[in-house]
Amino acid sequence: MNIVEKILARASGKSSVSPDDVIFANVDKVMVHDVSGPGVLKVFDKLKNKGVDVSKLWDPTKVWVAEDHFVPSAEKISAENIVKLSNFTKNYGIEKHFKYGMGQYGICHTLSHEEALVMPGDVYVGGDSHTNTTGALGAFACGLGHTDIAYVLLNGKIWFKVPETDFFKLNGKLPEHVMAKDLILKIIGDIGTDGGNYRTMQFGGTGIDAMSVESRLTLCNMTTEAGAKNGIVEADQKVVDYLKSRGASNAQIFKGDNDAQYANVYEYEASEMEPLVAKPFSPENISVVREAPSVELDKSYIGSCTGAKYEDLEAAAKILKGHKVKIRTEILPASISIYKRAMENGLLSIFLDSGVTVGPPTCGACCGAHMGVLAKDEICISTTNRNFPGRMGHVDSQTYLSSPMVAAASAITGKITDPRDLQ
């Protein structure tokens, strides 16, 4: 069995599973945030009206709660949602609630790895489509809607159809100025936004072995944009060390069998990779940066679970150091822990000296929520994950998706710029 089949077999109490088997998997960890949490509570209300007992969760110690989409509270409805979350965690005895303004908090997917909340081999479900991110720790990590999350919270299990797995193999180490974001954009361009639908996208090969855990998180994060059920990288010593450094002493290497089967194998040569952008209005609409349209940008946005991890900020700082930005540029570290490291290591000074506005951790403008949304006809280059019409604000705004290095280089010139071409 491959790693996903092994995880789902273990979680469903079976000796083996195959693609297309329908199973009920026991869940190891569950996440809700300030959008899915109130949605789940609405499902609880409906159940209560039908006489279902919703007074207790199956296991509050396996649940954690993030505040990320509309925080710090954008206006009164989002403020009320935050109050609902606080009442939820208090009433149900959930201790892992990362509250803004009270130490560590941030984007849910970022917390999953920064706080070592998910272990290799876990079945982890979250009320957010980018839950796929955490598959980079070697877990089966999958996004679900409110009804399914409510079901998990009450029953501790959920149905899955065992997915077919496609294996994406990267040969060799990515060149300087080419980031994991460029690789995943390339892959989505090749297979399309439904190329991974219902499937697992697994990454491996010497290039992935050489990658940092954070880069692998970027890859798995955007498997969602190919429609994948989950993205995954087998956990190696790097992952174990990463989790141990964040306090998880029980992290262990977990891999598929040697005779693991894959539906398709795609090979990529790292030496052939270049900085890319996804043009409006789809993540599959890929162009090499050097051949991208010569548009006047209004804004550069470096944020989100995709593009504001510590290494993303470090990459942006390398480009921005000693330069001034020519367009509005916002950098929003994805968690307080990342924010603090960026401060301690001098990144925030580089950003501020270059003219960037540094904001608090939030999903913010990535999903058009608040903190820098786009006006009609505005054009933005962004380290985020989606560029559908209206994604970051007005339905007639435009977003180009890129790596943090490309977003930083473009902030300096005001045009879509390959960091290798920066003077």
């Binding site: 329908v22 009920f24 300030d34 959008v35 899915s36 109130p38 949605g39 609405k42 499902v43 159940l47 279902v52 989409h69 509309f70 954008a74 409805i77 989002s78 949602n81 009320g127 957010d128 489509s129 839950t131 996004g143 679900l144 809607g145 409110h146 009804t147 399914d148 079901y151 149905w159 159809k161 936004t193 439904d194 639908n197 219902y198 429609g227 059920k229 789809s282 999903c367 058009g368 929520a369 949304v373 989606r386 559908f388 019409p389 209206g390 994604r391 339905v395």
Partner: protein, 160 residues
């Protein structure tokens, strides 16, 4: 099940146009319905009638896991979405929450059915009849578990 078609002849209708991100904080179903399809068709909420169906191309509902998407459509009156294919989370949210039927169709139905046509969906026969044009098309049958969850009226009523 009879109803009239609202057709969007395009692929990849994503959750950001079905219900834009700014409304994710809203959990009032009736209010969500007033913003359904706003990113693509701002007049949708004025023209949709109870019992209508949406017809569209490939990968309907791609993007986010927001259950707001099937909720907004369902509370607008939409009983089924017919599409060449569906993104996985939209599909399971529609079924597990019993909001609407996601019906996978073939090219003949996609091309043969026009905006405004009245159709009849017969799930027991996996058949769609175009009452306006007097044509029939097949629909892809639901998988075993999906059929059972639909019959039960959603995941919470389903007994594995």
């Amino acid at each position: 099940m009879k109803g009239n078609i609202i057709k969007y002849q395009r692929d990849n209708i994503d959750t950001d146009v079905i219900i834009p991100g700014q409304y994710l904080k809203v959990h009032d179903y009736a209010e969500l319905a007033t913003h359904a399809m706003e990113g693509l068709d701002p007049d949708f909420h004025k023209k949709v009638k109870e019992g209508d169906f949406i017809l569209s191309g490939k990968n309907f509902g791609c993007g986010s896991s927001r259950e707001h998407a099937p909720i907004a459509l369902s509370h607008s009156g939409i009983k089924a979405v017919l599409a060449l294919s569906f993104a996985r989370i939209f599909y399971r949210n529609s079924v597990d929450g019993a909001f609407l039927l996601p019906i996978e169709i073939e090219e003949d139905a996609y091309n043969g059915i026009a905006d405004g046509d009245e159709i009849d969906i017969d799930i027991s026969k996996n058949q769609i009849t175009n009452l306006t044009k007097n044509q029939t098309y097949s629909m892809k049958p639901f998988s075993d578990i999906i059929g059972k969850i639909i019959d039960a009226g959603g995941l919470f009523n389903y007994k594995p």
